[in-house]
């Protein structure tokens, strides 16, 4: 059979940018863990609560009432006003709902928009790592250079001024950070954040502050980055409903930023997404208006599980700092002499407990694993029992 001329002359069909980014390292673990029936997963990056009933109900009511059309590109003004009020009440930061608030398809979209609206090809974005898996690829997709700023156990996974300054060049344009942090659970207090703010001010950098875990702060109240002196005008504050209100599947987030940046983000958003899902916006409005009690209950339930998990991990011989927020513990696996990938893989195969190797979250995560404690106490106890057995068996 002769080859068709079409096949011979076939052109490349994937862009250089798409080819240049790696699929998330989490994928491999997902594939492996999904094949196991009775595996206990500490690998889940979302709340184990179902969305509060009042929020689900508000969404159903909006459907019943026929709210099935688009909303304003930036999101319903009622929701933007509620977001502005919430940010003021909870975190003492002021935003104009009309010009400075944008409702997005998850914090995920907000991160993408923030980068695309402010960063040019060739610019450098300093990213505190380990951190959420999307930051580096999204910076790459914008044609810019992600520059990791490593945090580690020695600094309790907080960024320091020294490390930040060491990474700055004259192409640096922005700092990306997220506290409370995924995967480390680290929290930075006002003073520690101020050190970052000083650097931003000194080198004229923007700050993308992903504060999606702000509510899940167990020992202190959260400091919004834009609440720091002079930082309101430099900060793109990213947040969303996924974690605090257990609404991951709704795909709803928001961003609060100075008007010029918000409006630039809105331009991209209006062409790529049009608007965030209308039903989800109705649910989110209810969450902000009547959800704080439920958040408080969820927070105290996470706190107890955090305490349990951290004690149990340390007892099993995996050193673990006390994470101040989010719902992850981030122990070192050094005691077993394994690297984090091997540890996670062996633990899954031998004991059927899924954790995520820290290195998928960036350099600073090497030698650690992320254990999500957003799972039932029963499951946690069984998992910690198995972990203990595993560590004892493999102790160096």
């Amino acid at each position: 059979m002769s080859q068709s001329p079409l096949q011979v002359s076939r052109k490349k069909r994937l862009s250089r940018t798409a080819s240049s980014i790696e699929p998330s390292g989490i994928r491999r673990f997902f594939d492996l863990a999904s094949t196991m029936d009775d595996c206990i997963s500490l690998g889940v990056g979302e709340p184990d609560f179902v969305t509060p009933w009042n929020v689900r109900e508000a969404c159903m009511t909006s459907l019943e009432q026929g709210y099935t059309s688009y909303t304003a590109n930036a999101g319903m003004i009622e929701l933007r006003s509620a977001i502005a009020r919430y940010m003021l009440d909870r975190f003492q930061v002021t935003y104009d709902p009309d010009q400075e608030v944008l409702v997005t398809v998850g914090a995920s979209e907000a991160i993408d928009l923030a980068v695309r609206a402010t960063i040019d090809p060739g610019d450098e974005v300093l990213i505190a790592t380990p951190s959420f898996v999307s930051y580096q690829p999204l910076v790459t997709l914008a044609g810019a250079e992600p520059i990791p700023v490593v945090t580690d156990a020695d600094t309790k996974f907080k960024i320091t001024k020294e490390r930040l300054e060491a990474a700055i060049t004259d192409r640096s344009r922005a700092i990306m950070l997220s506290f409370p942090n995924n995967p480390t659970g680290a929290v930075m207090n006002q003073e520690e954040l101020q050190a970052v703010a000083d650097v931003a001010e000194a080198y004229d950098l923007l700050v993308f502050s992903d504060e999606i875990y702000a509510e899940l702060n167990y020992d202190a109240t959260h400091t919004a980055f834009s609440a720091l002196e002079k930082m309101h005008d430099r900060t793109v504050l990213i947040s969303g409903f996924s974690k605090a209100f257990a609404m991951t599947g709704w795909r709803l987030g928001f961003v609060c930023a100075p008007a010029d940046i918000t409006q630039a983000m809105l331009k991209i958003h209006q062409y790529s997404l049009m608007c965030a899902p209308t039903q989800a916006q109705h649910g989110a409005l209810e969450a902000l208006q009547n959800g704080q009690d439920t958040v408080t209950k969820m927070v105290s339930s996470y706190r107890a599980r955090r305490n349990y998990t951290v004690h149990a991990l340390n007892e099993a011989g995996l050193t673990c700092h006390l994470p101040g927020g989010s719902f992850y513990a981030f122990p070192s696996v050094e005691a077993t002499g394994m690297d984090d990938e091997t540890f996670a893989e062996k633990l899954l195969i031998e004991e059927k407990v899924a954790v995520v190797p820290g290195s998928v979250f960036g350099e600073g995560g090497v030698g650690h694993v992320r254990c999500s404690y957003a799972t039932s106490m029963d499951a946690l106890q069984t998992a910690m029992g198995r972990l203990d057995t595993f560590v004892n068996r493999h102790k160096k």
Binding site: S24, F30, S34, D48, V133, S300, Y308, T375, M377
Partner: protein
């Protein structure tokens, strides 16, 4: 242990009375000894009265019982109000719960028995004959959907993917 922690301890036990003290200690970030001491104190002070399982008896056919909620109107008595009649009613072993209510009646009595006839006879022979009882209205319970915050016949599986970012 701080008051806040004590309340948290009570809340945890209210949902799971079987949780072991070493686990509780870790959850509360307290020593096991302190946890045990606090529980002992709460029991001594009758804050914690008992530890019971929430049972779905409908799954055990031979043991399924009948329950009725009875609205009772009574004449309150001088000085003791409703407490004296309540004290008499609560002693009957058939009575599983008893509350003083606001509204159109005074006491809400939950009665459990083996048969409908048994419950009916309790109402007519024992409850209505009490001196201060003016009237009773009996409602038989048909099915339990939710009890003490626990949903019966719940099938809420964890629908999350096993690993996610």
């Amino acid at each position: 242990m701080t008051k806040d922690k004590e309340v948290e301890l009570i809340r945890i036990l209210e949902h799971n009375g079987r949780i072991e003290s070493d686990v509780l200690a870790k959850m509360l970030d307290e020593s096991e000894e302190d946890v045990k001491k606090t529980i002992q104190k709460l029991e001594d002070d009758h804050v914690i009265l008992s530890y019971a399982a929430v049972v779905d008896w409908s799954k055990i056919q031979s043991e399924e019982s009948i329950a009725a909620m009875i609205d009772v109107k009574v004449t309150p008595q001088r000085d003791v109000g409703f407490d004296e009649v309540a004290a008499r009613i609560q002693r009957f072993p058939e009575v599983s719960a008893l509350y003083l209510m606001s509204g159109t009646y005074d006491l809400s009595v939950v009665v459990e028995g083996q048969t409908m006839a048994g419950v009916a006879s309790f109402v007519s022979n024992k409850l209505s004959t009490l001196e201060t009882v003016l009237s009773t209205t009996t409602h038989f319970r048909m099915k339990k959907y939710k009890h003490d915050g626990v949903v019966f016949n719940q099938d809420e599986k964890d629908r999350r993917m096993v690993v996610s970012p």
